[in-house]
Amino acid sequence: MADQAISYADLSYINSELRSIGSYISGISNEIGVISSKQDNLENDLVVLQSDLAKLTSLFNEFVDADTRHKALQLAETRVGNLRQELDLKFGYYAEVRRMAIGILQAVDVGIVNDNTLQFTTEEVMIKAPGYWLAPALVALASWIRDDRHNTENALNESLRRDDYKATLFYMLIMRRLGRNDASLKWLERYFMHQNPHNLSREFITILEAVITGVFPPAARQLMMSNVKDWLDLLTHTDNFVNQQKAQWVSFFEASGPLPEGKYPLLEKYCINWPTLTAALKAAKTHKVLQAYFQDIVSSTDFSKSVKVQLDEILSLLVVNFDDEELPLQEQVRLNQLIIQMDGSKSAAEAMMNSEKHIFEEKVDFLQLLTNASFNPQLAGATKATQTLAVSISQPWIVEAYDTFTAQSRNKIPKTIELTIEDFKTSTKDGGNENELVKSQELFYENTLRIELGRISFPWGAIIIGSLLCLGAISFVVAAPLAALVGVGIGGVIIWMSMKNYNKIKKAIIANVEERKRKAKEVLRGCIAETVDYRNELATEDANAEEVRHFIAAIRAEDFTSLSKETARNII
């Protein structure tokens, strides 16, 4: 009896203990489940965090870039203002004298200013602008108008002493304006005697301008053209000079390319040779820009102005054109203007400035003068008419430079587009092998999946321990049935837990790789689509080169030298 009672009491106690152990275990397993799900969450959070960080970095870089450009832009704007002020402060008086020159001429035209006023103002200028050639020239003009021969000659000599070239040209233009052709031709001859095609002064462009636009009698143009022809023969005798110009044209072409538009965001991100790609596209797009440039030059022959207006324009060009001492400041103004024009990109501005820099050289050879006038007539001190003539005379080497530029840019077109999406590397020529690429990408991810699954190990250890526990427990089933039961329970739970965990990880990996594969496939297809667009755009832009070449090759100097004011009037 007693035995029975004890065994009954023991059993219920053990049973309840067993139950509580069972509930503990399930509690533990629940907690493990919670922890593992928390860990999953943490991993997900980490991925999100990483991608956020990458986004932030790229945004920050963009911001820094934009900020730098913005600051450079602001600085350039301020500097332009300051430099202009400095110019005004230092050479502002010159501007006044220049305005006065035109003013005197126009006043004399209508005859409303009295001689005394002219004498007084010009003599005052003489005192106020020491060293400036235009001051004595104005005095000479005023004394000539009032028939004061002695004073005229003195002032004339003084102005020639201060700046022979400009004074000579000034008198030449005045004589032409007053219709004294013989006198102006004499001045022109004197002017030519000073010229040396290897070493021309900057203002020579002004005289070229004057003769080209036909403001001088035909004899002047003959004199000019025969000189120009001799100079050209001399300078193109060997390739030295021509090659210098060619190099400048090539770098001018290179610098004329438009800024990138950001049309291919995927390629920009995933293509490892993107810098080459974008450079090739930029070079190809340059052709269109150049076409507009040359068309603008060639089509702008303007005969609408009267001779007198044009003379005044040239006169004001002559007098307004910066004098040599102003050049350093003007150069800085130009650099800052270019920075503004290039949206704050200092390097782009410097590249443009570099191709223009010869404009600021004080003495140039004739070919260089033509190049300067072609690049930027305003800076070179000429008008569009001279630009047209300069381009047409330089045409043979412009074509050569253009051929070199075209060949160089074509030579740089990348043969293949190298893509790297995640760790999948591939290359395509024109995007035509899409299916092939997609297939190899799929293979890549199959492989990745296999490798990643291989990395997690099947929980053999836990299963063996669990099984051993079960087996061991079973062997005690007779001696201690309750302990055996507990052992089997614990062993079973260990096996079940480890299997559950293993399957969970496996599923997560498969899902992860699938997701990556899906995204990467989208990116790959996007890249291929952009590749097709890129090749198409490149081909279209590149084809413009042939058109532009035809256009430049068709420019002939004779077309423009004959199309001067006189002949145009004759035709009308």
Binding site: P197, D403, K415, D542, R549
Partner: protein
């Protein structure tokens, strides 16, 4: 005009010094004349020729000398590179005038450095062929017009 004469002397001195190395602007004029259709056809026909056809080579050389108007090998290009229409895997072919051989190249097969620099341009559709000279390339367009480029030479102009 005295200054011009003075400058002129310097100038001539410079020119004579450079004469041996420079590729003259005027001296190249002859090279830049329009090529004849016959010449273009001749080069285009290279695809049909087998690689070791001696008689073909002789004919070819004769045709070239006719085109360049000279029998001197020195004034001829060192070779000609053009697109190969034999089809995949052949990409370009090269006519080596010094060794007088024709060779077709596969896509990933590289040519001698002198010729390799002409490859990309030869493959470009705008050009029918590229004449390779020691210091320059002459690009011949489909209509026979020629243009010079200094690619591949360390040019400072």
């Amino acid at each position: 005009m005295a200054r011009i004469i003075l400058q002129n002397e310097n100038f001539d001195f410079d020119a004579s010094k450079k004469q041996t190395t420079s590729t003259g602007f005027l001296s190249d004029r002859g090279l830049l004349k329009k090529r004849s259709q016959k010449y273009l056809d001749l080069i285009a026909s290279l695809d049909q020729k087998t690689l070791s056809e001696t008689k073909g080579i002789e004919e070819l050389m004769k045709g070239l000398q006719e085109e360049f108007g000279t029998a001197e090998l020195a004034s001829l290009p060192i070779g000609i590179v053009a697109k190969c229409f034999l089809g995949d895997p052949y990409e370009v072919h090269r006519l080596d005038l010094t060794a007088q051989i024709i060779r077709h190249y596969k896509i990933n097969e590289s040519m001698e450095p002198d010729f390799e620099k002409a490859r990309t341009l030869a493959l470009h559709n705008a050009y029918a062929l590229v004449e390779v000279y020691k210091e320059k390339l002459i690009l011949i367009r489909l209509d026979g017009t020629a243009s010079k480029t200094d690619i591949g030479t360390p040019t400072n102009f």
